[in-house]
Symmetry: C2
């Protein structure tokens, strides 16, 4: 006799949204020389955060962390000008997306996103037995008009939009996002994913307005702040949207390092400004390398540059494979049309040098 | 118009399994002088683990951790003599319990536990809309016979047992647990929570047998290993029980510090042996203090001592409140009969001194 597994879960495939570079390294027996595939900040994080981690390691790592995440939430409130009941901390945006799907929809409900957008969101939608509905990108942007029209037509429980976008790196100015928000039915929850908000040009993020009853914005310390390994993200919204998290979240789940290091990182805005400058320079360099090699970089507001390889998805896959074989870890969009591209994170100078050399060699091999 | 919230979640209270000491400190404006309420290892962790954390903080905290938790799983397999597909890592046992309820039962299914056992398990059961069924403790032990009888009668989806037990600190020898396991219907999943397995006497933990098709054992690095703040636990079982986790878990959710520090801690068994000795001495001291004050310590296999205050639950609550007012953080069981006790974690010598002084004063006040 086999043990009962919830029927829906039983029917799911065992899957993972992203293959880890560590797996590729184990399978190939080779370490990557450049880690440019996961949109991490390879420059690390604020020394304040490192100091906070060292303090925790030697003093209080044996203690459970504050389940109310009070100190970090207070710091975020001061930083953002919001109230304590307008923010909830999660295990990265990934953890929050799972909770949001679970809270704000029910089995079989429809959830709307763009075809080719963040796979981990889709993973949670499937895992909770919701129905995914997609509209295609337009001109490498999430198509706000098409998403709004589809939302008006199908009235999904949730619509998920990222600004700036991943995997294309494109973005909309704040006023376009605000127009989009205003067009979404009031009974559809909007998830506005701003994981790459810090690296975007001024005027990209709408002003925070927690009176909006159907908007949750999610942000993270994994990208610009450089502590992806700790898993710390947060959702901002109306208190009526934040309260339900308290009913089901794993209260003691946010680790003590994440709480302390995130707060310390937040309080070092000077370091953030420096890393944003370095990131912008690296973005320019990646774009220049693409052009030098006859490829087309897509203008990016993120910590990566998505590069149009100029042919079809099969060709871009060849480019990706060539780079991976040369021990350059990059990833690529997989949805039709977007799949003509590879996606390269801003990394350290020496990593970008390695990428540059490898790209030229790969393209030559493919001629 | 208000946004839709899943009807079951909407009906839940906003609750938390445990009030954090940090909240009490914020509300009282006073810091605790002894933190003896959460069964943490106040001696911290292995220097190996501290070194691993420092390395991560300065080198790789900006990277997402391996979602397959490969290195830690391999170390656990070597340590336990099991295969890679017999173990899954979670965000502490708390995180694993949520996943287990979600995978191995469906809404409205019955789940069996002991009345007064671990509240976080009950929290997940309620949060996933399952029905909790309980049997009382007997003589301060989880009543294995009554649990087995109830399981045979009601055939619950899951039965949850801890050995050693929390909050009473009592335990059963391995052969009694094995007999219990053999009596449970084959289509009921047994969760055997061994969070306090390391501190128990030899002969408490049954030999690991991953051929058993309905048994998951959960363990943690939060107790004896002293890294509760990092959130790292694991489940051991038949590969058919481990596989479904891959379908729904947050793959990138286990933070990089937890993975590295847990592995380093596991590899320092010498430190573990030392801390177990210190723990046993502290347990003896707490028991002696209880006896000196005319109270009855319950023999413990854990890192805490549960103390029978000799009267009813209201009286024990007065003792607890008196200790808390004297800035000694302790907790107490809340279920009838068990509630005549307070629960005191083994801490540092100076913390136990503080507890000793405060307890005598509290009991004098209550005379």
């Amino acid at each position: 006799m086999t043990i009962k597994i919830d029927a829906h879960i039983q029917a799911l495939p065992a899957t993972i949204p992203f293959v880890a570079p560590e797996r590729t390294e184990r399978e190939s027996g080779n370490q990557f020389v450049a880690r440019l595939g996961a949109n991490e900040n390879n420059l690390g994080c604020s020394p304040n955060a490192i100091e906070a981690m060292a303090r925790i390691a030697s003093q209080s790592v044996g203690q459970y962390a504050d389940p109310e995440n009070f100190s970090l939430r207070r710091a975020l409130c001061q930083h953002l000008g919001i109230e304590m009941n307008n923010v909830v901390i999660g295990s990265g945006i990934d953890g929050l997306l799972g909770l949001i799907v679970r809270i704000f929809s029910s089995p079989k409900d429809t959830i709307l996103t763009s075809a080719g957008a963040y796979p981990t969101f889709n993973y949670h939608v499937a895992a909770y037995d919701r129905t995914l509905l997609t509209v295609p990108y337009r001109d490498d942007h999430e198509d706000l008009d098409a998403l709004a029209q589809e939302a008006q037509k199908t009235r999904p429980a949730i619509v998920y939009v990222s600004n700036p976008d991943n995997p294309m790196g494109t973005w909309w100015p704040a006023k376009d996002i605000e127009n989009f928000i205003n067009k979404i039915p009031e009974d559809t929850l909007i998830i506005l994913d701003e994981a790459y908000g810090e690296t975007a040009p001024e005027g990209t993020l709408p002003a925070i307005d927690c009176t909006r009853a159907n908007l949750l914005r999610v942000r993270t310390f994994s990208k610009a702040y450089g502590i992806a390994g700790l898993r710390c993200g947060y959702a901002i919204g109306n208190s009526a949207l934040i309260l339900p998290f308290e009913k089901i979240r794993n209260h003691f789940g946010i680790n003590i390092m994440a709480q302390a290091a995130s707060e310390a990182a937040l309080k070092d805005q000077e370091w953030l400004m420096q890393t944003l400058e370095t990131n912008a320079q690296a973005r320019d360099r990646l774009s220049a390398i693409a052009i030098e090699n006859g490829l087309k970089p897509i203008k990016s507001a993120t910590n990566f540059v998505t590069i149009d390889c100029g042919q079809d998805g099969a060709y871009a896959m060849q480019v990706l494979k060539g780079l991976m074989e040369r021990r350059i870890f990059v990833r690529k969009p997989m949805a039709p049309v977007l799949d003509r591209c590879i996606r390269v994170s801003t990394g350290k100078d020496e990593e970008i040098n390695q990428f540059s050399t490898a790209l030229a060699a790969v393209l030559k091999d493919l001629q």
